[in-house]
Amino acid sequence: MAEQVNLYSARKEALIKPLLDKFTQQTGISVNLITGNADNLITRLKSEGKYSPADLLLTTDVGRLHRAKQQGLTQAISVSAAIATVPNNFRDEQGHWLGLSLRARPMMVSVDKVDAQSIANLEDLISAEWKGRVCIRSSSNIYNQSMVASLIVQLGESAAQEWVNGLVNNFARQPQGGDRDQIKALAAGLCDVAIANTYYLAGMLSSKDETTQQQAKKVKVIWPNQAGRGAHINISGVSLAQYAPNKNAAIKLIDFLLSKESQLWYATTNHEYPVLPDIAWSELLQSFGTFKAEQVALGKLGELNAAAVKMMDRAGWK
């Protein structure tokens, strides 16, 4: 039988399939794919036990990889030449997961209404000056949960709670919609500052729809806390399943996803930042400017996820 690799992917099919097809073309190894919500895939992996066909688990959030590791569903990935190029802070200490791309979650402001110099830190958002001017999506979303978890790591429990309370107090409206909706609300003047992932803005800027493009052009990225701890980031990454039946092919796929070609594809098609430091950014990503990122042990975010959700519940963040 021809070589194959089985992939459980929390990354949507449209955002991974083209890469997998290229991999098959180059190596002759076919890739079987199931996409879905990361937690559901982890539950599936767990309930299938040692008969699970899965070789790799791909998620768009480090917390989920950490969760899979804690449940004993993953194994250490032996370090290949390609894997060694991934910076240490984007790899698990025991090698159970590693990052494939970076996702940044900065502040964004409406260029018409806000002077970009008037805001520099996430902490500014809770001052009285911004009352009724902040847009952000629901706290049910994993990006917000990870962001608050990283604040707990860096600021401590009580300061993080204070920030969450203050932010809720300054909301322009009850959280609704996704990240793009926050950007649109910014463009329409409903709010003056928003928090959203950059690839949504990039996706809108490169949209075929004229209106969407116009909306995105009214928005400017502000990298927060550049003089201090840096902007919040997360990774999309991969784990090797504990009972992976096709381990060799799986490692080949990981190597391929870390190749220059794949890393460039991430940047140009999905507008995410490459995880390897020496890959050039696309023009669009460059237009947002360079930034200093947080140096948090990413595994921590997964551990503190529940604490973050409770914190947002207490603050009344819907």
């Binding site: 079987n32 008969y51 949960q145 909706d181 463009a187 409903l190 959700v309």
Partner: protein
């Protein structure tokens, strides 16, 4: 003697088959209730002091709101179509059903695109009148009221379908009696017509309310805190699967209450269709202003529930279709179609089995088991799917251990890794829809008809063929249609349980939409709607043919 007879009737083949079927189908729902035995004190303290009141209040308002609105829309439409003759009535008959093919989350996406603050309508208002944010009032689509309207627009056909049959089956003699007694038409409507149609109307409303309780896509997109969003938040966010299952059990309890209420309201007025060739009501021909506004009223729900959103989807799809219409797309279409076909046939066969089992053995244990399986409809698809995944994987692991010990081979995940899992979950989830239709149909076959036939020496199969099949045909068809359309739209279970390299239109539409690429999601969404329309049209044609007064229609 009597006791022994009853004892035997307990253990006959019907009972064993049905009990077994029910237990398999109820296992995923049952797992949810097992969670109740593992108290999670700390997390419940947190939930009840923060978000739980919101979950309860919002879910109740949502379900009640949807219930009321679908009763109003569905009953008015059914009345107009069943009792009036006007231009366009024939076309409206099936147009009215079209919103059924529209998944609730898709209609929510399209209306948000239109009515949102940054959407075309509000933007052009601002541009025209030079308004700013805060200068004017515009109702917020992403609200509880918005969700009630979205869900009602696609769920009213449940009430319409059942109410229309009820209205057109009431013999005209009732009306003649009222008239001869000097009862004015309006009083006849409220004293005779509506009370007689009440079981059908409430049954439709109960189905719609169960869908509203289980809805996740719409409330999640609108950012509302309901039970379903709470279940996922507790499970994924707080990382507590048991507490999430307990929330699901609590939600299901609300539905049990709803079903008990519906059952009680029906029990008081138990009656069977009289069977004799009663003179059907002739539809009243409308003249004057009525001839204008009745069609207008009938078109309104179709316009908002189908035409407008489809136009929006068409506009989006026209911008993106060129790169999406690949061979892979046709495969998606085919997958969706055959999966829905297999699942609807399975569910209807099971429903027939259970319905006849209940009829032949009207004993408590069977009624209870069937009732439990019916609950599946109100449990969010994800919860049932996870229940099925855990129980089937467990079974698979046992099978593999066995084959490894005996034959030294492992057969792999034969149940949890195949389409079997999906079909099981669809059957478990949508059996209630099929059962409701089959039960209604079966209630039209008076038990005395069976007795009469038997006393004439008919064999059971003959009775089935000559009496039941003709009387049940419409109900079986509408059960098939409703389950087909439901499976076509079904999302969470498909997403969780599908095997490798298997996708459907709903999965594709959702993946793109949840990635906030509404325009790219438009084409698969349109395809779901188009595939869903086919059986709708087919059904209306067949219903027309098989209805006893078809001569009036043609």
């Amino acid at each position: 003697m009597k006791h022994i007879n009853r004892f035997y009737s307990w253990f006959n083949i019907w009972f064993v088959t049905i009990a077994l079927g029910c237990i398999i189908l109820a296992a995923p729902v049952g797992l949810v209730f097992v969670s109740v035995f593992f108290p999670q004190t700390e997390i419940w303290q947190h939930l009840s002091s923060t978000v739980l009141p919101d979950y309860i209040v919002n879910s109740l308002i949502l379900a009640l709101g949807v219930g009321l609105l679908v009763i109003v829309i569905g009953t008015v439409l059914a009345w107009c179509i069943a009792r009036y003759e006007f231009t366009g009535r024939k076309q409206l008959q099936w147009l009215i059903l079209l919103p059924m093919a529209m998944p609730a989350y898709i209609i929510a996406y399209t209306y948000t695109g239109l009515l949102d603050f940054s959407g075309p309508i509000q933007t052009s208002l601002r541009d025209t009148f030079h308004w700013q944010y805060g200068d004017y009032f515009f109702p917020d689509i992403r609200s509880l009221a918005g969700a009630i309207i979205m869900l009602s627009l696609v769920l009213y056909p449940y009430v319409y379908l059942l109410a229309r049959t009820a209205f057109s089956e009431q013999p005209s003699s009732f009306e003649e009696v009222s008239r001869s007694l000097g009862v004015p038409p309006s009083k006849h409507l409220f004293k005779v017509v509506l009370p007689l149609a009440r079981p059908a109307i409430l049954m439709g409303a109960a189905l719609a309310m169960m869908e509203a309780f289980a809805d996740y896509g719409t409330v999640q997109y609108f950012g509302l805190s309901t039970f379903t969003t709470g279940i996922f938040r507790t499970w994924f966010g707080l990382g507590n699967g048991i507490a999430a299952a307990q929330l699901a059990a609590m939600l299901t309890s609300f539905v049990v209450l709803l079903l008990i209420l519906e059952y009680l309201s029906r029990r008081k007025i138990r009656y069977y269709f009289q069977g004799q060739k009663a003179q059907q009501v002739t539809r009243q021909k409308l003249t004057g202003s009525q001839a204008f506004w009745v069609p207008f009223v009938c078109v309104t729900p179709v316009f908002f529930g189908f035409i407008l959103p489809v136009l929006q989807l068409l506009k989006w799809a026209s911008m993106t279709y060129s790169k999406q219409l690949t061979s892979e797309f046709w495969l998606l279409l085919w997958n969706s179609f055959y999966l829905a076909a297999i699942a609807s046939i399975t569910a209807v066969i099971l429903a027939l089995l259970f319905a006849y089992g209940k009829r032949l053995n009207p004993i408590k244990p069977i009624q209870f088991l069937v009732g439990v399986v019916n609950l599946g409809y109100a449990v969010p698809g994800t919860v049932i799917a996870i229940g099925a995944m855990i129980s089937l994987s467990w079974l698979d692991i046992k099978i593999n251990t066995l084959t490894e010990n005996w034959f030294d081979i492992s057969v792999g995940l034969v149940f949890s890794g195949s389409l079997f899992a999906l079909i099981l979950v669809y059957s478990s989830r949508f059996l209630a829809v099929a059962m409701h239709n089959i039960d209604t149909g079966l209630s039209r076959v008076k038990p005395s008809m069976d007795d009469a036939a038997r006393s004439l020496g008919y064999k059971p199969l003959q009775i089935l063929r000559t009496i039941h099949v003709p009387l049940m045909k419409t109900s079986v068809l509408s059960a098939l249609l409703l389950v087909f359309v439901d499976v076509l739209k079904e999302l969470p279970a498909t997403l969780i349980l599908r095997p490798f390299n298997f996708n459907t239109l709903a999965v594709r539409a959702f993946e793109l939409a949840s990635d906030e690429r509404l325009m790219d999601a438009a084409l698969p969404a349109l395809a779901i709607v188009s595939v869903g329309i086919l059986p709708v049209i087919l059904l209306t044609m067949l219903m027309d043919k098989s209805s006893p007064h078809s001569s009036h229609d043609n």
